[in-house]
Amino acid sequence: TTFFRKVQATEARASLNSGGSSSSNSSSQGSNLLLPGATVATIVMLGLLHARRLYDDQKVEEAREKGTLEFRPDAKATFMRLLPLRSISRFWGTLTSVELPMWLRPYAYKGWARAFHSNLEEVALPLEEYASLREFFVRRLKEGTRPIDCNPCCLVSPVDGTVLQFGELKKAGAMIEQVKGFSYSASSLLGASSLLPMAVVDDNKNEDGGQEGSTDDANQKSWWRVSLASPKVRDPAPACPLKGLFYCVIYLRPGDYHRIHSPVDWNVLGRRHFSGCLFPMNERATRTIRNLHVENERIVLEGKWQEGFMAMAAIGATNIGSIELFIEPTLRTNRPWKKMLHPEPPEEQVYEPKGTGVFLKKGDELAAFNMG
């Protein structure tokens, strides 16, 4: 409306000032029309883009409700696979390790905290004492800011984060849901030689009266045999999880406290290191990259607690690529790939003394996610 009013006013002024030549009048009218025209075109284009986005969002929501959206082939995911994410991650680590001048540190860390909603009041040390962003990122918290639930009949969160999924593993293959409509098996996440308590289902008998046996034989399969058969998404069926096997997936945002603590009193018997990819781990990546949790580089700790089996998988991402294990300081993750052949077998370590391993109390600090 404003545009047309302006046009009308311009025309009226032009007719009043009839002293000028007709050619100069038409050229001035042309230039006057050019700018509002471009503005209108921009507004229309933005309107169309916004309408399309609303339409797409609506479609996404509808599909999500039906459970049919997740893991459609995504051009972005395909593109991500082509990127040298490991090198990018390592470069990011180098960049964030650069020592900042003392005067800049509070500004840099306050900016980071503002961008990623970190609570600076919980930080253990004055901001000036963190020499680099990488150091600040794995900061410790003030004493008492994370009280451990002392109830002996509870399992506590090992990290600060957002609960993505949780539940009981019941069906064959012990599938963990990544997002609605797609799951990966617990043995893919933890490794083929995991101590995961599974029972082989006898096809000749029903589930209730089925003969339950050990899966030790299945665990004896070599990594190569399993991975060559059907990498990553192999189906470990017909094994079923024993009753009372649960899982919980917690996502850590960049602003969160990035140290991992022990969820219960337990004996860590061993560690497995999978040097996989380093895809981003944000919400969109979780929805679009297949088997994200079993593709990415991760450390799996396995052991026993008073109620049986316990395993914890710490999964890295592009920006937070390396995992530091305090019970094994020599372990290095996010190393340059020596072999291009994928997948590499996981590197395993059994902690001494065998059968007892390393004892950790509930709340003990056991690992940290590092930048790059």
């Binding site: 994370r146 009280p147 451990i148 639930d149 109830n151 002996p152 009949c153 509870c154 399992l155 506590v156 969160s157 090992p158 990290v159 600060d160 984060g161 957002t162 609960v163 993505l164 999924q165 949780f166 539940g167 593993l169 963990i176 617990a186 933890l190 995961l196 308590p197 024993l242 009753k243 009372g244 096997l245 649960f246 899982y247 919980c248 997936v249 917690i250 996502y251 850590l252 406290y257 990035h258 140290r259 991992i260 603590h261 969820p263 219960v264 781990m281 949790h293 109620e307 049986g308 089996f309 316990m310 395993a311 914890m312 710490a314 999964i315 890295g316 991402a317 937070i320 709340g363 996610f369």
Partner: protein, 45 residues
């Protein structure tokens, strides 16, 4: 970054009083923000 816990926890036969069940129950919801040291699940001895 993400952390996945896989664990065995107590189970029991269904009882009338579910609040006193010896079965492990999560005390979180999907999308909840949790802090280190907060209970994820409980059971009764």
């Amino acid at each position: 970054s993400t952390v996945v816990l896989v664990f065995q926890a107590p189970i029991s036969e269904p009882s009338a009083d579910k609040s006193m069940s010896a079965e492990f129950r999560f005390c979180i919801k999907k999308g909840d923000r949790v802090r280190m040291g907060e209970a994820l699940g409980r059971w009764h001895d």
